[in-house]
Subunit: 249 residues, 2 copies
DNA sequence: TCAAAAGTGTTTCAAATACACCCATGG
DNA sequence: CCATGGGTGTATTTGAAACACTTTTGA
């Protein structure tokens, strides 16, 4: 059974990072998580900081390992530094049972963890478990499952941040496939905001920003009337976000 | 000459924090900074993380030491983790010349620094230099002075964050004295936003939130017509911020 | 052929903006 | 007595919200 191959001298003590990787599929928001070996708990993909890296580079590296993707949209949102936050780790080191002693010792130090959230296009992700986990899978951020130490808190905080930053960050652009329908975009906004929006007002408002190109294609295959496909106009979207999408949904 | 009396075994390696302490005085935004000994550079008040502390507690401790104040409004806004960020420190260790070798060695490690911003009532602060600095004083966040390593970047980022969070955080409440005038409050908003606002519209809008109590007093002593004094209605202000002061200035 | 989803348009109401006049004060 | 800053009011424009009808589709 493969172990972590973590060279503890390559990374800084006391500092870790956790990534809340958001995807959007079947009109639902998802988070990519690891199911830890020998436990039922889910954990966020995370990692440690190498000597010559920034935290952003370390997060990118982690993302690449779990999703296969480069150039992911990534943002720090909070540092979790409760000295008791990793208490559970010491009580439940089951998932470390195949690791060498120096790795176990390293894990048992106190860590402050920098939370990042990432936005990825669901269909492009190839989920890769790490050596400490049995599976890497998408679950609902609202799912009531057992989570490693404070990872539930980290997800909740990421969601709150996402909600607040919905009008300042290219959330739609990063979470949806290149071509998408208006109802899809609306569902995305609704999921993040946690409330329903009026279909017609939503469309009018989002179109008024001139950040979408309407395509001469419709999404076929679904039941009911075929909706048009849209794509983001990357130029104007970028510009619009710099000004802030002035409204609040 | 007093030295730091830093017991390096009490704090974690590699982790520091810096506080951008905002105050408002003479209708101008100010930042509390230290002037480092034996250099011309200004540095942000900062500190290290003790083993049993959260970062927030460590920041509070730092704030208490520099300002004499407790219960300060404090918020994390970013972690600065460029591996070269403290390069200058190694080139210019002048301000450490009275420190024992273990302290110098500690300072020469790589640090990632968690940025906090704090909002304080200017007149209540009693600025206290630390052992490494000659003075602790208020300067303009826009001042073009020499700053320690990346502290200018940290201030800029704090300002940007403050601007974005102006409608979500109790910024007025924390920065102004208990009684203040409408023009003062407006100047505060204008300074943070970096643009002018219409006097009459500002007043109408801020009053519409019902977060101010108009007092039966006027601010005397100034030239020209004496403006009324207001105070925040803490109950409704708190409530309003939870909902977000829906507008954007 | 009909239920359910999607396209499109109008009316209404609230908020942001622009603008004007009067009042008080110290120099 | 007047320049400056402060108090208060109104008309206009803009955008958000509420709401209705028609079209397309697969079951």
């Amino acid at each position: 059974m493969a172990n972590l191959h973590l060279n503890v001298s390559e990374v800084l003590d006391h500092i870790s990072l956790d990534c809340v990787i958001f995807g959007f599929h079947d009109n639902e928001l998802k988070v990519l998580m690891l199911r830890l070996k020998h436990t039922n708990a889910y954990a966020l993909p995370g990692g440690f900081l190498k000597h010559e890296e920034t935290l952003e580079q370390a997060a990118e590296r982690t993302l690449k390992e779990r999703t296969g993707l480069d150039n992911i949209f990534l943002k720090q949102f909070k540092v979790f530094s409760d000295p008791n936050r990793d208490k559970l780790k010491k009580d439940n080191p089951e998932f470390l049972k195949n690791e060498p002693p120096e790795v176990v010792a390293f894990f048992n130090k106190r860590f402050i963890s920098v939370g990042f959230y990432a936005l990825v296009e669901f269909s492009k992700v190839d989920p890769q478990p790490d050596a400490l986990s049995e599976a890497c899978e998408w679950i609902s951020p609202f799912a009531d499952v057992e989570m490693f130490i404070d990872h539930k808190d980290i997800i909740d905080k990421a969601l709150t941040t996402l909600r607040i930053q919905l009008n300042q960050q290219p959330i739609g652009l990063k979470l949806l496939p290149r071509k998408f329908t208006m109802p899809q975009l609306q569902k995305l906004y609704e999921t993040i905001l946690g409330r329903e929006l009026d279909r017609r007002n939503f469309q009018r408002k989002i179109l008024s920003y001139k950040i979408l190109n309407k395509l001469n294609e419709r999404k076929t295959g679904g039941a009911h009337k075929a909706p048009f496909l849209y794509e983001f106009n990357r130029e104007s979207y970028k510009q619009a976000l710099e000004d802030g999408l002035s409204g609040i949904w």
